[in-house]
């Protein structure tokens, strides 16, 4: 089995394992079972099935934590340079014609890390949803979908082969469709759900192609050397690094897989579904955009890192597809965040931008910081989303519009405010919040690995992040209360999903702090947003880099060699300075613009033409949506499909009709020459198909026996002659 590790087995220490690691496959199975139970019995349970969802997530969390703990022990039992073998269990799902489809688990540091994050965030989100969706019409369905969604993500993370990964990947897609379109009575919501599923599905073509290519390219090699099929992640990783693969094949496969990641992780140019997906309930946005769905793409790149590493020549430096896409995504989505008035959309674009950082890091060989960014980002982004939900839930009467319905909330919602600030600082990458330790490391390593240009882009991105978050914070918590936050129950301004909740009680009570079920998850998340960075605090020296020790696979036949930039305070201070500059500039501008209504700033976009054009360009999201919807989708669904259908009806069917009518003509002609008497009715050129068939046959149906006889005998005679001629 472990041909590669056995080769020099004598120097390796035996690795420990444990119950939790061996049974990690239970982690996705529990939510899957819970899903089935909720669907079947949920409505009849005391808490409408929500308790099952929460309990299953808690169970998954416990299992993942146990697995994490045992993984750390396993790492500790290994020697310094030893590659810590993942815990792999696989069973044959089915096999046929030499193809073997397995099902199994593949647990290593990366998987454990993401499992823990997913289970943790899912648990908090479910608890939060207990309150947030209380009384919703489809409460049970919501929990079922949420549970299955987490199950899908967990299965994808655990997958030991590409087929299982694809399964989890698609289940997530399905559940995102159900969750984003949760309030499907509104056209907007169902359209957003459709858009999300469809856009991701476009990317999935790449996944299908990539899996197929990898399978056929790698299968022989993996069978021979590792006795696993070409679907196995471990096999593919080893194959990619073996120097065996044809560089073109692996390059195309890597590009194909990356296309799938672009769709799933909302990278440019397929990021457009992500902001629209905010149509779903806030807990969904929080789950989707912090730790699951969108991270799946990043996870896939991290999981199959050897393929990308070799295929896209990551150690080569300079630039490759991943860093280019990542870099573009960071900047363009950060720019979009400036013109949003909807707080959730700001966060959505910020997510897109942060995913760009992760991709950038992975593309530039900064594997560890990128993976660590998955970890930290999950906490602070979830906290931000839940904070936004808390505001809309308790203060702004279900509106997410910062300009119209928020402002000055820091006094009424102190807990939400505090957690928000902590998470924002983490997001901006301020020392010592968690974002600093991951994001700064990414920026640092990108430069160190020879991607200088992209380091600059990343720094610009950091500046923009700080600026737009400051703007959003200012609009939400500072200044004077506006709209619903000021207690004006302006019913026409309410957010769309308002009608579905039974929260009318809140409407009259004005802005207030949210309940415990909402604030406790917020507090927990903000504590983590503050502290989780210390798990891999590079500035404090090697002994603080626990994450690197536990998660990063050591260089071996299964993992490429990764380089780490030495930490330097000078660089860190520079990037911190950029962040603070961003905060300061944005604060001053926001204060002047939104509170003082400074005449030099208000209406600037109207007065300065070039700014106006830029603003319009941003507001219209670079016209990408227009391009997709109006040009591509509308053309395919409209003229092209209609044209195809027209061809079907008029050309293909037309040929058939033509054949029918010409056969009618021919038979009519033949008949006229046999029987001069019957001419009427035979010539009717504009007859439809039915008529033509009928009239074609009609003359011969004269009802006269002797004619029938004549026809019969002459036909027999002709047939006989034909046979005779053929036989002679």
């Amino acid at each position: 089995m472990n041909l590669f590790s056995n080769a020099d087995a004598e120097v390796l220490a035996p690795l420990t394992s444990g119950w939790f690691l061996d049974h990690a496959w239970l982690i996705p199975v529990v939510p899957a079972i819970a899903f089935a139970l909720i669907i079947l019995f949920g409505k009849r349970m005391p808490f409408k099935g929500s308790e099952l969802g929460v309990l299953s997530m808690l169970a998954s969390l416990v299992l993942s934590t146990g697995a994490g703990y045992q993984w750390i022990q396993r790492v500790n039992s290994a020697t310094e340079e030893q590659f810590v073998d993942p815990v792999i269990k696989s069973w044959t799902w089915w096999q046929n014609a030499g193809f073997e489809f397995g099902i199994g688990q593949h647990i290593d540091g990366l998987a454990v890390l993401v499992l823990f994050v997913v289970a943790f965030i899912s648990t908090l989100v479910q608890i939060y949803s207990l309150e947030y969706l209380r009384g919703d019409r489809r409460y049970t369905h919501f929990f079922a979908a949420l549970t299955l969604f987490s199950g899908g993500m967990l299965a994808m993370v655990l997958a030991d082969n590409m087929m299982l990964l694809l399964l989890g990947w698609e289940i997530m897609g399905l559940c995102s469709f159900m969750l984003i379109g949760h309030w499907w009575e509104e056209d907007v919501n169902s359209k957003a759900a459709l858009k999300a599923f469809f856009t991701v599905r476009v990317g999935d073509v790449g996944l299908l192609v990539g899996i197929s290519m990898l399978y056929f390219a790698a299968n022989d090699w993996t069978r021979e050397n590792l006795d696993v099929s070409g679907f196995s992640i471990r096999g593919i990783s080893a194959w990619a690094l073996s120097g065996e693969p044809n560089s073109t094949v692996i390059m195309i496969a890597a590009v194909a897989l990356f296309i799938a990641c672009i769709g799933k992780s909302g990278q440019f140019p397929l990021h457009t579904w992500l902001p629209d997906a905010m149509a779903g309930p806030t807990p969904v946005s929080s789950l989707l955009h912090s730790s699951t769905m969108v991270v799946a793409g990043v996870y896939l790149v991290a999981r199959l890192y050897p393929v990308f590493f070799v295929g896209l020549d990551i150690p080569g430096g300079g630039g490759n597809l991943i860093v280019i896409i990542g870099g573009i995504t960071i900047v363009i989505s950060a720019a979009l965040a400036f013109v949003q008035n909807d707080i959730k959309r700001v966060l959505a674009y910020s997510t897109v931008s942060q995913l760009g950082y992760m991709m950038l890091g992975l593309g530039a060989g900064a594997w560890m910081p990128a993976v660590f960014h998955i970890f930290t980002h999950a906490f602070f982004k979830a906290c931000l989303f839940l904070g936004a939900g808390s505001i809309s839930h308790s203060a702004s009467h279900h509106s997410f519009d910062m300009k119209r319905d928020m402002g000055g909330l820091r006094k009424v919602m102190p807990i939400t405010f505090a957690t928000w600030i902590i998470s924002t600082l983490a997001l901006c990458g301020v020392f010592p919040f968690s974002g600093f330790f991951s994001k700064d490391e990414i920026i640092d390593n990108v430069g160190h690995n020879g991607y200088g240009l992209f380091m600059i882009i990343a720094l610009i991105g950091a500046f923009m992040t700080a600026a737009y978050m400051t703007r959003a914070t200012y609009l939400t918590f500072f200044g004077k209360p506006r709209g619903a936050s000021a207690g004006h129950a302006d019913h026409s301004a309410h957010d769309a999903h308002d009608a579905h909740d039974s929260h009318d009680a809140h409407a009259s009570s004005g802005p207030h702090e949210s309940g415990l079920l909402i604030t406790v998850p917020l507090i927990i998340l903000s504590v983590l947003a503050l502290s989780s960075g210390f798990l891999n605090a590079t500035p404090f020296g090697e002994s603080w880099e626990r994450m690197k020790l536990w998660v990063e696979p050591r260089h071996s036949a299964f993992a490429p060699e990764l380089h780490h930039a030495p930490f330097m305070w000078s660089k860190a201070l520079m990037s911190l300075a950029i962040v603070f500059l961003g905060i300061a500039v944005s604060w001053v501008l926001s204060f002047r613009l939104f509170t003082k209504r400074d005449p030099r700033l208000v209406g600037l976009t109207q007065r300065v033409k070039i700014l106006g054009v830029g603003h319009k360009f941003l507001v219209n999201k670079y016209y990408l949506d227009d391009f997709y919807e109006k040009i591509i989708v509308r053309n395919i669904a409209g003229p092209i499909a209609s044209a195809a259908y027209w061809i079907n009806q008029n050309i293909l069917d037309g040929i058939i009709h033509k054949i029918a009518s010409s056969s009618r003509l021919i038979s009519g002609w033949v008949y006229r020459n046999i029987d001069q008497r019957v001419v009427d009715g035979a010539v009717n050129n504009s007859a439809s198909f039915t008529k033509s068939v009928g009239t074609a046959a009609q003359p011969s149906q004269s009802g006269k026996v002797s004619q029938y006889g004549a026809l019969l005998f002459s036909a027999a005679g002709v047939a006989a002659l034909v046979l005779v001629i053929i036989n002679t």
Partner: protein
């Protein structure tokens, strides 16, 4: 051999002429009588072909029974016992090419298949006993079916012809 040949050709010519009369005559009763000639000729040919039993059956069933039926049919439909001009239909001429076509096909087929093949000089003569063995042996099932057909025909004819 020669005698048989003479017999064959004589009968054959008579049959053909008679058959032509059947399909051309303007008198239904005449047609029926000409048909008798054809059928009798056929019976004679059967004998030449060493099939006495079939020949006898032909005489009994056809000339005896079927012809009587025909004549009855003619009478019952009150055909004039005399010539009639309205016996042929308007596409009379259509029959000539159709028949000609079939004949051409058969001529080609027969002459190419059997050319100058002769009937063996001392052919195996089939006795009536053998025929009956066949009918009540190998072909018993068709025989049953045929019996049913006849029964059905009798019942059917009665049902059809009944006045009520």
């Amino acid at each position: 051999m020669i005698a048989q040949n003479i017999g064959f050709w004589t009968i054959a010519i008579v049959m053909i002429v008679a058959a032509l009369r059947v399909v051309t005559t303007n008198n239904v009763v005449h047609a029926a009588l000409w048909l008798v000639v054809v059928l009798a000729g056929a019976a004679a040919q059967y004998i030449l072909l060493a099939a006495e039993f079939v020949a006898i059956t032909q005489v009994l069933v056809y000339i005896g029974a079927v012809m009587v039926l025909f004549l009855f049919g003619t009478m019952l439909t009150r055909a004039r016992i005399g010539s009639e001009s309205d016996l042929n239909n308007t596409y009379k001429k259509l029959g000539v090419p159709v028949a000609g076509l079939m004949f051409a096909a058969m001529v080609v087929a027969l002459s190419s298949s059997f050319g100058k093949e002769k009937i063996p000089d001392s052919p195996k003569v089939i006795s009536t006993q053998e025929v009956s063995d066949q009918i009540f042996g190998q072909y018993l099932l068709p025989f049953w079916a045929l019996s049913f057909v006849l029964l059905a025909a009798v019942v059917g004819a009665i049902v059809l012809a009944r006045k009520d």
